[in-house]
């Protein structure tokens, strides 16, 4: 007997492979045409895809709606920017961001997980607002102007190094990192720990009676999501050369939630496709009119009404049935 959840995860792997293939083609085309703008834009889409992925772990698997995931994204961006300015080292920036993610994720998780539902959403929103306002008013962090002057850097990967200034090179690097986040999340969610998160979403009370401390499970999920959001944020100043307080604002958190709903809640891969789609829509519609938010709002409403399972709801069930047939043979 095939396990339905494992099959669904596997269908996701194929869709990620397709995304990578698309990314590689895009990189080749971009390289051949000497493009910078679209490669940079696509890199940004992937970085925000990582943030959306973290929202999906909470929303799609654990059943927790965070309206403040930008807290960790912005945290990563600022810590990474500061570390890059101080040490010009990629690994120092990642290490510092990871440490910050663990400490702040644990603290934030202990606070936010005291409550459920709407209250959880409000507390996560509130915590992000507090940090956003604090950063916005701190001169040492550039205040409302943001933290500028992040140096171009060579990312030393042992065998070779990638310059953050190279549009193709850095795009491919971010593509690899995003896939790594996906693999990590997909692995974790197909372990008994991950299944318990799904069970939490379905019926938290029963999880308690089958022998698990639900507060620990929720904290675990929150921490994983915090780490992925922070590390995604850490890539941002490498791309743009600065970190701005907008990264901490509600618009960032809200966009991540919209991204997940567009792509398909509880699919992981939907977060990545959703981010690419949203970026395309923004830049295409944005070139016609500056009121592109209206268009995005309409698209969002249409998806919620017509495609409650998002984009992935269109393709994943078919893929699952194909894979299910293949494995039974």
């Amino acid at each position: 007997m095939r396990d339905a959840i494992t099959l669904q995860t596997r269908a996701g792997h194929w869709l990620v492979a397709l995304l990578v293939l698309g990314g590689l083609v895009f990189a080749v085309v971009g390289f051949a045409t000497g493009d910078t703008f679209y490669l940079r834009l696509a890199t940004e889409a992937l970085i925000f895809g990582g943030l959306a992925l973290s929202v999906d772990i909470l929303l799609g698997y654990t059943g927790l709606l965070s309206l403040g995931q930008a807290l960790y994204f912005g945290l990563g961006a600022y810590v990474s920017a500061l570390a890059l300015i101080a040490w010009q080292s990629f690994w120092a920036a990642i290490g510092a961001s990871l440490a910050a993610a663990l400490v702040c994720g644990l603290a934030g998780g202990l606070i936010a997980n005291r409550v459920r539902g709407v209250y959880f959403a409000l507390i996560t929103f509130g915590m992000a607002q507090v940090l956003a306002k604090a950063v916005y008013n701190t001169r040492a962090l550039g205040a409302s102007d943001g933290l500028i002057g992040v140096p171009v850097l060579d990312i030393n990967l042992g065998l070779f190094s990638v310059s953050s200034a190279s549009p193709v090179g850095f795009f491919l690097f971010v593509l690899a990192v995003t896939v790594l986040f996906y693999v990590l999340a997909a692995y974790l969610l197909d372990t008994p720990f991950g299944r318990l998160l799904i069970a939490l979403k379905a019926n938290e009370n029963r999880v308690l009676f089958i022998g698990y401390r639900t507060s620990t499970l929720r904290l675990g999920s929150y921490l994983v999501a915090a780490v992925i959001a922070t590390l995604s944020g850490a890539l941002y100043p490498m791309l743009r050369g600065f970190a701005s307080p907008e990264l901490l604002f509600f618009s960032t958190s809200g966009n991540a939630v919209i991204t997940v709903i567009l792509g398909g809640v509880g699919t992981l891969v939907g977060a990545l496709y959703g981010s690419v789609l949203l970026t395309i829509v923004k830049s295409v519609v944005g070139s016609w009119t500056e009121h592109h938010l209206i268009v995005i709002g309409l698209i969002f409403m249409a998806v919620v009404v017509l495609l409650p399972k998002g984009l992935m709801g269109l393709v994943q069930p078919a893929l699952v049935s194909v894979l299910g047939r293949g494995s039974r043979r």
Binding site: A4, T191, P192
Partner: protein, 249 residues
Amino acid sequence: MTAVRPVLEVADLSISFGGLKAVDQVSFAVERNRVTTVIGPNGAGKSTLFNLISGALAPHRGHVLLEGRDVTGAPPYRMQAAGLARSFQITSLFFELSVAENLRLAAQVLEPRVKLGLPVGSSAKARTRVQELLSQFKLDEKAGQIVGELSHGDQRRLEIAVALASKPKILLLDEPTQGMSHADTADTAALVRSLSNDVTILLIEHDIGLVMDLSDTIVVMHQGRKIAEGAPHAVRADQAVQTAYFGHA
């Protein structure tokens, strides 16, 4: 006779909500591999008693002893680890997940903790347990079905199977036949009887006819208090029970 320690002992257990003494100084013991049934009219405090024993509520007074160990007020997951599992009167399953996945989730505690972080496929003990339960509860053919789509009777049986998955020492069943048809009720009674070979059972039941044949010991509750305890025929003849149930002496 050498005293064999009862699996579960409840002593002086009490809780009140506001002024209402929902459970009031209730004491009894549950012997190994027996079926002990708690009966009583609506509002007698049976479900509250279960909530106190299973850790859903902490008692204001009294003790709960599992195999002699004081577990009073421990949270449900600790009770579970100590060998106590329960089912619910209102079916409480993972309705969006498959029958097999519901059982697998509950059987996972049979595995060492480190397996929580390894792929699901590597938990062989849990998988074996799921197969056992599927055939024991005649759910093989429905293994892949989503629980929300099962019939009420099947959901009620799965409710018991999920509680049993961890191989508990004592199983608390809260009205397992709730809302069942006549035929399903008889099947469930037979099922509970067969389970009692391997596990001690504490049952809450409404249907007095059913519990007479099924139980070794009956505890009768009325308005939060225990008013009688004993073998089925003795309890049936008890004056206090007659009064509580039928309102005449």
